[in-house]
Symmetry: C2
Subunit: 228 residues, 2 copies
């Protein structure tokens, strides 16, 4: 198997955590995609994923799998012990519900804010900014507000449960964790009063499989190219 990604980017980080937890890293070959240089928008990469996003998993039979949920379902079910995606119908349902919410209410709006209301990855990669970009950045900033509301939602969830989808760690925890990493890199802070979310984050950061990835948002060379 081969993963095409870029270390440090939010969605690649999700799958790197899955690989660590499932002890699969040694079975995987990694191909680095120059995300800032827009390599993922070139024909060679678009043949792997026509929508031009990373990460992509290439199976040994040549099948390409993209989208983090799909890649996680594959990797988690390989050994017949789906600890991240659930066993019972109820577990599967709660994990997929929270996975969708973690994307729609956190990691996606953070990405939209980053690309539309900040210089993001630069104009080569993101030529189109939302209509109000030159002025108030209205739509992009609404996405930031949505992400902050998403954090408040996950805080209420974590007041009642140990993990995002129940009493055990799942793929949806990884998505919220990566969402908070990305938010921080984009300049969106977790509200001070989101105490349960902050405590959960500190706990998750210490888990085996997650610990190796904690805090690694963007490679140093990529940060330099982004002007940090």
């Amino acid at each position: 198997m081969k993963i095409y990604d870029r270390a440090g980017f939010p969605n690649p980080a999700r799958i790197r955590i899955v690989l660590n937890i499932k002890n699969l890293e040694e079975q995987i070959e990694f191909g680095s995609v120059d995300r800032i240089g827009a390599e993922h928008k070139q024909p060679a990469f678009l043949a792997k994923n026509p929508f031009g996003v990373i990460p992509v998993l290439e199976l040994d039979d040549g099948t390409f799998i993209s989208e983090c949920t799909a890649i996680t379902e594959y990797l988690d079910n390989l050994d017949g012990k789906p600890v991240l995606t659930g066993i019972t119908p109820r577990e599967k349902a709660l994990i997929h519900m929270m996975q969708k919410r973690a994307e729609a209410e956190l990691i996606d709006p953070v990405g939209l804010y980053f690309h539309h209301a900040t210089p993001g990855l630069g104009t080569t990669l993101q030529a189109y900014k939302s209509p109000d970009w030159s002025g108030r950045g209205d739509w992009g900033n609404q996405q930031r507000d949505r992400a902050v509301k998403g954090m408040a939602y996950f805080d209420t969830v974590l007041q009642e449960r140990s993990f995002v989808a129940g009493s055990t760690f799942s793929m949806s925890d990884i998505t919220v964790f990566a969402g908070l990493m990305f938010a921080e890199a984009a300049g969106i802070t977790v509200p001070e009063d989101a105490r349960s979310l902050r405590a959960w984050r500190a706990r998750v950061a210490e888990l085996p499989g997650v610990k190796q990835r904690s805090g690694q948002t963007f490679l140093p060379e990529d940060l330099k190219r982004l002007g940090f």
Copy 2:
């Protein structure tokens, strides 16, 4: 089990098809949510789903499951024969990849076009329109273009396969099918040259479980309230 939905709306239609295919309709109680009257944004419904979208599945133990993928995973796995969500890791991965694409590249942009670039469901429900709404409807119309590109993508996929995620019908076929129903209701036509997509659609419309739902986009009384 109980489903809170509104017959004829796109996402409820997805789950109604799942229920038909899995022969579960008789085990389900239905609660109709007045979507146009914004009942799904009132406290009683928000207690079931804080993000105020339908459908929602209530389990017998009182657990609420929302998001179509999550509800489908639940219903499809109840009998231990997950014909819609896959058995092998590769099947699961391809189905989830195509499910995500069917949402992101078809049903979601159709919804954004409908709500932001047309009168949609009216100003009570959708007070905020995208910035250019009063003039060119720029962002909303880009979403229409994205949906049309999505149709072209699914057409190329269906040139090579019988169904969206492979050789058998899956949950991702239901999502594309509902996406095309919604597109039609919103005034977006499937391009004439998307022959494989059109042929697939005609075939899917005749499948047991789907046939009962074909063409039922919005209840007649809802269409009347929308001014049709």
